[in-house]
Amino acid sequence: MKQAGMKEEVVLSLRNAVHRYDVNTEVILPDLAVKKGEHRLILGQSGTGKSTLLHILAGILKPTEGMLEISGTDLYAMKEADRDEFRGRHIGLIFQQMHLIDSISVMENLLLAAMMAGMEQDKDRAEKLCRHLDIWEKRHSLPETLSQGQKQRVSIARAVMNRPSLILADEPTSSLDDVRTEQVIAMLTEQAAEAGATLVISTHDRRLMNHFEHRTLLGGNPGQDGKPEQDGKEVHP
């Protein structure tokens, strides 16, 4: 999937990042420079450091070395509380497991995103998202009454609720069939475009390769032609 009118401003910049879990476990992460409005796929098999990379990009795991800038802000130079607030306002996160809060309704889950970020709870926006993502009828229902597809849509709606400048999605399609995968990717890219946000998807799902113009391959994954590609290499078909 290609984006029109992409600007040159770098929204996300990761440089020289290394994370050591212990003396024997070190994850060396590729440098990244993702521009505003860009849709970037990070592809890698299990154990290649996808989750570590995504957590670092989300500001929830401080790298042992290196620097992350989002919209020109050095995220890990901030105090933790400021970083929490920054994340709430500027980064939308989508997880493989939807992790909706079970005790509150769909609408409340959306408003929760604003509340936790300390932002105004825009009920109109939450309702609009419910309509756009076809969960209007379920807006007052508890998550346990939703289908997997509906939960995924709520999860996407929650991620874009605060109009973030960066949307990070972790394995959003790994357990879906081809049809549902197409739908979810379409929804994600559409919502990212609507919010004017940069989209970064981390996955091992090779079906997504053709949907993204910008790809970063982790762990020497084989390319589409079966030849191995360099770790962290950016691919521009």
């Binding site: 989750s51 957590h55 989300a58 929830i60 795991l61 933790e80 509380a81 929490d84 607030e85 920054f86 994340r87 709430g88 306002r89 996160l93 997880f95 493989q96 497991q97 992790h99 809060i101 079970d102 005790s103 509150i104 409340e108 408003l111 929760l112 995103a113 604003a114 509340m115 936790m116 970020a117 300390g118 709870q121 929650r158």
Partner: protein
């Protein structure tokens, strides 16, 4: 959407668990509140009823029994004392005031007390209807008695021998209600008062009394209190009571004219009374008067202040035991809240990680968990208070002794506010460890484990 709605939603999600914790805590609190209400009101009532009474002089026996029977009208008296001996006490220079009490009869369980008009006056009682007695066999009813027996001025009652609702009914001596007291909140409300001579008059004709069962007694009293008042109570056979008067349309036999001092007439010296309520002339009397009673009479003097303190001390042992049990209940329930919150913390670690990923600072999650603990403890405390007051309300409605002490379920004690504060603090403490764990939630580590 705010932390409060999130707290309520979370507790609602674990409704059964939350409810059980609230119930357990409320049982402990209810026990404490009931004990507080009963013991405080009992103590207040005991001291209030004894106010102005420095000593009670009665027949030798248990001093507690003398106080209970003569001040609180709860127990049987230790016996009677000769008026001749009582007069020596009344005229003692250290006695400022001595009020005679003659007990021994009841009307449907309410005690009939032969005394002087000083007795209700001492308790601050005022008449809400009618007047005090001028003649033998005229009675003034306490407010509770009047309400319970549906009495009005002009009604006629029949007393029975003894202090409980059974015994020989003095069917030949109708007692006319001439006055009704306004509520005092003291034992006065539960009594029927008359002149000392009334008690002597009733018993001087015991040879003529008839024994009736309690059903007949009820019937006799009820018919006497009937609102149409068209029946006649004539006691012409009472040779001393020949005066006739018309009360509200019916004829009633009257006794002799009486005053507050007429019972001291030398002609009555061979009679007996039950006790004397003594007010000292000066504080020195507290040391000297009991010695006089002990050394120079066959009577006994008991000081209400001392006996009440002793009685409350004895009661206190039982109350303390119940209180300890209640505190154990409260502690168990707080432990329950702690365990529930800890389990909830474990169950919701992904929720917490998500909230953190949505931008929630650590302190927000800490607040969320402390709010849950505090909400549970406050809900349990408030429910406990409601249950405690309800228990007192049921007690006062069903147990005669509680009615006698004029206990109110609607009285709120400052200690209850303390209880609420302590409970709030305990809820906070119970939620502290889960809240700290929530505070320490590591988003990356938690989400990686999914």
């Amino acid at each position: 959407m705010n932390l409060w709605t999130l707290t309520i939603a979370s507790l609602r999600k674990r409704a059964l668990n939350s409810l059980l914790n609230i119930l357990l805590l409320s049982l402990g609190i209810a026990t404490i509140v009931t004990l507080l209400l009963v013991s405080t009101q009992l103590e207040d009532n005991l001291y209030e009823n004894a106010e102005g009474v420095d000593a009670v002089v009665g027949a030798s026996g248990s001093p507690v029994q003398i106080i209970l029977s003569s001040v609180f009208h709860m127990d049987a008296p230790t016996g009677n004392i000769d008026l001749e001996e009582a007069v020596k006490v009344i005229r003692h220079p250290m006695v400022e005031r001595a009020i005679p009490l003659a007990l021994g009869d009841n009307v449907r369980g309410f005690r009939l007390v032969g005394t002087t008009t000083e007795y209700p006056g001492r308790a601050g009682a005022e008449l809400s209807a009618g007047s005090y007695w001028d003649y033998e066999f005229e009675v003034v009813a306490g407010s509770v008695v009047a309400e319970a027996l549906n009495l009005q001025v002009g009604d006629t009652l029949y007393s029975a021998h003894g202090l409980s609702d059974a015994g020989h009914v003095h069917g030949d001596h109708g007692l006319m209600v001439v006055g009704i007291l306004a509520p005092t909140g003291s034992v006065m409300d539960q009594l029927l008062l008359s002149a000392v001579e009334t008690m002597w008059g009733i018993h001087s004709y015991e040879v003529d009394t008839v024994k009736v069962d309690s059903e007949e007694l009820d019937s006799a009293t009820a018919s006497a209190a009937d609102s149409d008042h068209d029946h006649t109570h004539a006691h012409e056979q009472d040779i001393d009571h020949h005066a006739q008067d018309d009360h509200a349309g019916h004829t009633h036999a009257k006794g002799r004219l009486v005053t507050d001092t007429s019972y001291l007439n030398p002609a009555n010296l061979d009679e007996q009374i039950t006790s004397l309520l003594i007010e000292y002339r000066n504080p020195l009397a507290a040391a000297q008067f009991p010695r006089f009673i002990m050394d120079q009479t066959n009577l006994q003097a008991a000081a209400p202040a001392i006996e009440i303190t002793r009685l409350l001390g004895l009661l206190g042992i039982g109350l303390d035991a119940i209180q300890i049990f209640a505190y154990i209940l409260i502690f168990a329930s707080l432990l329950g809240i702690f365990i529930a919150l800890l389990n909830s913390m474990k169950d919701r670690k992904y929720d917490l990680a998500i909230m953190r990923s949505l931008g929630a600072p650590r302190r927000k999650l800490f607040t969320l968990f402390t709010l849950e603990g505090i909400t549970l403890s406050i809900a349990g405390t408030i429910l406990g208070m409601i249950l405690g007051h309800t228990a007192v309300w049921v007690l006062t409605g069903t147990i005669t002794e509680a009615q006698q002490f004029q206990m109110s379920a609607f009285r709120f004690l400052p200690e209850e506010l303390w209880l609420l504060g302590i409970s709030l603090a305990a809820g906070l403490i119970a939620s502290l460890i889960p809240a700290i764990q929530a505070y320490r939630t590591d988003i990356a580590e938690t989400l990686t484990k999914t």
